[in-house]
Amino acid sequence: MLDRLLGVLHAHHVEFIVIGGIAARVHGSARITQDVDIVYGRSDANIARLVKALAPLNPYPRGAPPNLPFAWSAKTVKAGLNYTLTTTLGAIDILGEVIGGGRYEDLVGHCVAEKLFGHATHVVSLSWLIRLKRAAGRVRDFEAIAELELLQELQKEKP
């Protein structure tokens, strides 16, 4: 599902950065993650592309009761910032801004370009991923941060 979700975003030329657990996997984390976290550009054009890309996947607020008057539209995305969604291709968190990293424009300079399932994708760098998780300050992230810091040390040891 992840490959298809990324494929849909790329097919619509959405500007986004992969962060969170998937970024951690890219950098070598052994932890399993279920959702995709992305930081998306907040320009009108990009929001329009994001809305068009996800519309066929029936995005809906994750964990919300059914039958809410939720309309997936550019107006909805512009009115909010961060959304945790469920789609027919799995869970995705779309973040207009992330604690410790700011917006897409702030974070895009701290990414590595990785080819994920054939698509060149911005993935937040390991050091910035650690920074984001530290800034979030969630207890459940402590072990993940420890793992990421060890990965950083292992990668520095590489000849």
Partner: protein, 106 residues
Amino acid sequence: MSQSELADAAGTYQSVVGRIESGKTSPSLETLARIVRAAGFELTLSLEPTAVVDPVIEAYKPGVDQTLLVETLRMSVNDRLQANINLNAAFETLDRDRGGRPPERR
């Protein structure tokens, strides 16, 4: 590219490049930038905050299976992601078999 060729392209002497390569001398930033550029790269510097040692995070490190990390690093990026997809699918199957009760996950 030989030391002489690199030195010529960078406008310096082969002996300078040789001393830098062998670690006998540390070049100035200007010289280093010239040599790096001659080799087809651009020298960039960035300021990064000093790594903060957090005793809470440190306490978690002995519990991390580093063997697993080394194994994961040996995989390609796509294989790491595919393994995540496969494991999630396996957990979903397990969920269904257990009547929807979620298993513990790392």
